[in-house]
């Protein structure tokens, strides 16, 4: 690892195939749930468990926008959106992936992603994100549960599961490859 990872939530709206509304929504969700669980701050440390050596870094928050009314009403939505934000930044920075498409509700995945490398032959990969906003479930238990869900279909292309635990300090992020 060349140095600590920096997950800047501000970049999300500018990433390809995400869209401004979606990017701002996810970034605000992450910032909201971080503030809810901890305190007002500009950034938070995190540790990444990737099943190997792991790494660490910081999450840079954004100012919470109009989406705040949605999140105040439903903390689960903030956790879900925040997990997508941190999850996307993880697969982008750590795995070198980019978004192909956000899949609609009830389709069994959160996003389709692909390797940025031009010589890749992967059609796309599925990625599922999970967030822990207030429950006592451990990060490892949740990511293992996600992996088991994704293993139901043996002919699937490789996938990834990323879980963010917003209740811990440092924030815990766990990522596993499913193939």
């Amino acid at each position: 690892m060349s140095g600590p990872l920096v997950f800047d939530l501000q970049v999300l709206p500018d990433l390809p195939n995400i869209g401004t509304v979606d990017g701002n929504y996810m970034a605000a969700g992450a910032s909201f749930i971080l503030e809810h669980n901890h305190q007002a701050a500009l950034q938070d440390p995190f540790v990444l468990d990737d099943g190997g050596d792991g790494s660490a870094g910081i999450i840079r928050r954004v100012a919470i926008d109009d989406n705040v009314r949605r999140f105040r009403r439903d903390l689960n939505k903030a956790t879900e959106a925040g997990a997508e934000a941190i999850g996307l930044l993880t697969v982008m920075h750590v795995l070198g992936r980019r978004v192909v498409n956000r899949t609609p509700t009830e389709t069994g995945a959160d996003f389709l992603i692909e390797p940025i490398a031009p010589d890749s032959t992967v059609e796309f990969e599925r990625v599922e994100f999970g967030g822990i906003g207030d429950s006592g479930e451990s990060t490892l238990a949740r990511v293992n549960r996600k992996v088991r869900q994704m293993l139901r279909y043996p002919d699937e292309p490789p996938g990834h599961a990323v879980v963010t635990n917003f209740t811990t300090m440092p924030i815990e992020v766990a990522m596993r490859r499913v193939s």
Binding site: V21, N101, T121, F124, Y153, P157
Partner: protein, 143 residues
């Protein structure tokens, strides 16, 4: 490898529209959500049916998205039609795609049947009247 079906403006618009529909649902604006889901569904359907059979993962992902959006728009009949159309060419789907579509067909058929039963009159007075007449007639003959 970039995926040519997902690299279209239509795919990006469908994804963004479906996401906006989710936000409208969260805001309890059911009318707006349905309209947005309907637009996303039309785009996803067109894309899914255009994917060639040698890309079953892409066809499945777009097809499941299309059917899910039709259903969330409340158009369960259309959702069933699209699902059955995709399943008719089952070799062009992934195992997961087939499983998901079959599950959706089962769920939506149940919903449509339940709605049909709910909206049909539970009893038919004319039949009752006829049955009463027959019952009386038979009883009288036997007596």
């Amino acid at each position: 490898m970039s995926n040519r079906w997902f690299e279209t403006l239509e795919a990006r618009t469908a994804s963004e529209t479906a996401f906006q529909a989710e936000l409208a649902e969260n805001d309890d604006d059911a009318g707006k959500a349905k309209e947005l889901y309907r637009r996303a569904a039309v785009a996803y359907t067109r894309l899914a049916l255009a994917v060639t059979a040698d890309h079953p993962q892409t066809r499945s992902a777009l097809g499941v998205a299309a059917v899910a959006c039709h259903a969330r728009a409340g158009d369960f009949g259309v959702a069933l039609d699209v699902a059955r159309r995709l399943l008719a060419q089952s070799g062009a789907l992934s195992q997961r795609g087939r499983t998901d579509l079959l599950r959706m067909v089962g769920n939506y058929t149940e919903l449509i049947d339940a709605e049909r039963k709910r909206t049909l009159p539970a009893t038919r007075p004319a039949n009752h009247a006829r049955d009463d007449v027959r019952a009386n007639f038979v009883l009288k003959v036997v007596a």
